[in-house]
Amino acid sequence: ISGGEETSTNTKGKIAIVYDVGGRGDLSFNDMAYLGASKAAKDFNLQLVELQSNTEDDYTKNLETLAQQGDYLVIIAVGFMMTDAVKKVAAEYPNQKFAIIDGFDPDMPKNVMMILFKENEGSALAGALAALIAANSGKDKVGIVLGMEIPVLYKFEGGYRFGVKWAEDYYKQKTGKDVSIDVLYQYTGTFNDPAKGYQAAKAQLDQGAWVIYQVAGGTGVGVFNAVDEYLSSHKQKMGPPFAIGVDSAQDWIKPGAIIASMMKRVDVGVYTAVKDAVEGNFEGGVLELGLKEGGVGLSTVDDVMAMFNSLPEDTQKQKLKELGFNSKDELKQYLENTRKQVPDWIWTAVDDLKGKIINGEINVPKAFNKDEITAIRNAKTWQEMMKLGE
């Protein structure tokens, strides 16, 4: 008796993916991992087995169960929280290939590919975009709403702050005007209470934040709603003010209110791992994806449309109806118009920063712990921050 048997006859093998407790629907790395894995499964004709985790205690058990079955090309663990579990299980099953998203351990066994992202780099772009939009509107505050305070989020916050400071400098050089942009930030203490995100974003808007970057999983959905509500109560269809999405190209959720998203291409990472495994090129060790590798970046309209296309047909139709569009093209057009609310020079400036980061001229600091983020928070200039990163 096996539920999977009949389908596996016409596939070339199996891959498995273990989600962390956030699970599918976090609009974030779990969803992105699914995207990459399902694409790979389709492209290479594989069967995809998904395991959800109820709590953190399930990680080891989930991985072990899969490894015991022994017939997976590669087992993908999504999320840093699985690091210890992967390390342990991989050591017990040296012939099983694993990939872990966001997880790093210096002593990780050789059969594990550790896929890491430079969220700080992508967040720097978000920060620059936010600060320039604010400065351009004569405002002096931008915001960031985060989930529970966990050090992983410091990378986002640090990068965002770096981008803001860099933008102050850029703006001064471009216009000759001094600006000082404050970053309102708050950790909402939860990844799954949209109401908390909504209230946090409202408070920040009240206090003058002009662009709000959300790094809060399910809580972040509330941030979009708060911005959207601000717009409609000011009889505006499009921002500014804006929200910035995270992890996946979230712009389609509230077109007009979301200017862009800081994408973390977990899908690319997962796809790469599967591809390598299928083609026999799988190697353990670190695979770090930054701006240069296309592992992070600000979403383009095409990215958003690709994300939108990955939704089930019905969902797409319904969403279009809800937004009042007759076709996907209209949505696309709308997204493009949204972006036109921001002057071209700002987009150019962000591209400029991106180029400098890619060519190594600028090094975005990475905050791993409280001391590091505190240092970044206290730094006066981006140059000072960069020194911290070294």
Binding site: G25, D26, Q186, T188, G189, T190, D193, P194, A200, V221
Partner: protein
């Protein structure tokens, strides 16, 4: 704190109080009749989910609210049958309903909308757009529900009987009052209000269904019910106070006067202080949570 912020915090707290107050008021009524339920967390979640479905199917947010109430009614009937007619334990079904919701909603999201975890609701309730934020008519509805519930409970024959049934069902029974009927429908009413509160979250307040969106509000509402001394009017005030401290905490957070975690504690610490310092003893209805059997 300028005027705008004050108004904004006020509006926020009013919007945030709705699910808590509705649930508390419903729970007050149900417990006044002697039926305890701790399943409101699950009721909120499931009615947020089913309310959204109904809203989208019918295209009317009000229908969604009614859908939420119906969800509450069905769950209330389940609870009522188990506790009132079958004379079962009052606590266990609630635990079960909470667990059930944690399975039904994430599973239902995938099954119905094809999106895991969350769904943006297409049809939401009209609300008053102000410069300081949106104000839902449900705030008014909530206040009216609390007032009317209070009036009926303390001023009318119906309320008198409900209270009698919760204080001493034997006394009520001996006067020809159908204890089971009153208890059962009180339970249903309680859960129906919670259902309304849940649907409000998805089709009015937040415009989203998220797999854990009740986020402890069902339990907060129970605490608020005890806080109120089983009085719908005090529950209204208590729910608003909680919403106020919640909104205040969100507003204070960006100032980082103390570590963020301590700001997040604010509503809970304040509740505890108010209860310990001012309210103190609350006396539940005497037969609260006890099945009534004639033989």
């Amino acid at each position: 704190m300028d005027f705008g912020s004050v108004v904004s915090i006020l509006i926020n707290s009013l919007m945030a109080m709705v699910p808590i107050v509705l649930t508390s008021v419903g729970a007050v009524w149900s417990e006044r009749a002697g039926v305890v339920s701790i399943g409101y967390e699950g009721v909120l979640l499931m009615s947020a989910f089913f309310g959204a479905i109904v809203a989208e199917i019918t295209g009317h947010a009000t229908m969604g609210l009614i859908g939420g109430m119906v969800t509450g009614i069905v769950l209330g009937m389940l609870h009522g049958v188990l506790t009132v007619y079958l004379k079962g334990d009052h606590v266990i079904p609630g635990i079960g309903i909470n667990l059930l919701a944690l399975g039904v909603v994430p599973f239902g999201l995938i099954a119905y909308w094809g999106t895991a975890g969350q769904h943006q609701v297409a049809v939401t309730l009209w609300s008053l757009e102000t410069q300081y934020g949106r104000l839902s008519p449900m705030v008014l509805v909530t206040i009216i529900v609390a007032l009317v519930t209070w009036w009926v409970l303390f001023r009318t024959p119906l309320g008198l009987r409900v209270r009698a049934v919760g204080e001493n069902p034997e006394a009520a029974d001996a006067l020809g009052i159908n204890v089971e009927k009153y208890r059962f429908w009180s339970t249903v009413y309680g859960h129906a209000l919670a259902g309304l509160g849940g649907a409000y979250m998805s089709v009015a307040w937040l415009g989203v269904v998220q797999k854990t969106m009740s986020a402890g509000r069902g339990f907060i509402a129970l605490a608020n019910m005890v806080f109120s001394g089983w009085n719908p009017l005090v529950a209204l005030i208590g729910g608003w106070l909680f919403g106020f401290f919640d909104a205040l905490a969100a507003w204070l957070a960006p100032f980082h006067l103390i570590p963020g975690q301590f700001i997040l504690m604010l509503p809970y610490v304040m509740t505890l202080i108010i209860v310990a310092g001012i309210i103190g003893k609350a006396r539940p209805p005497k037969w609260d949570g006890r099945p009534y059997k004639r033989e």
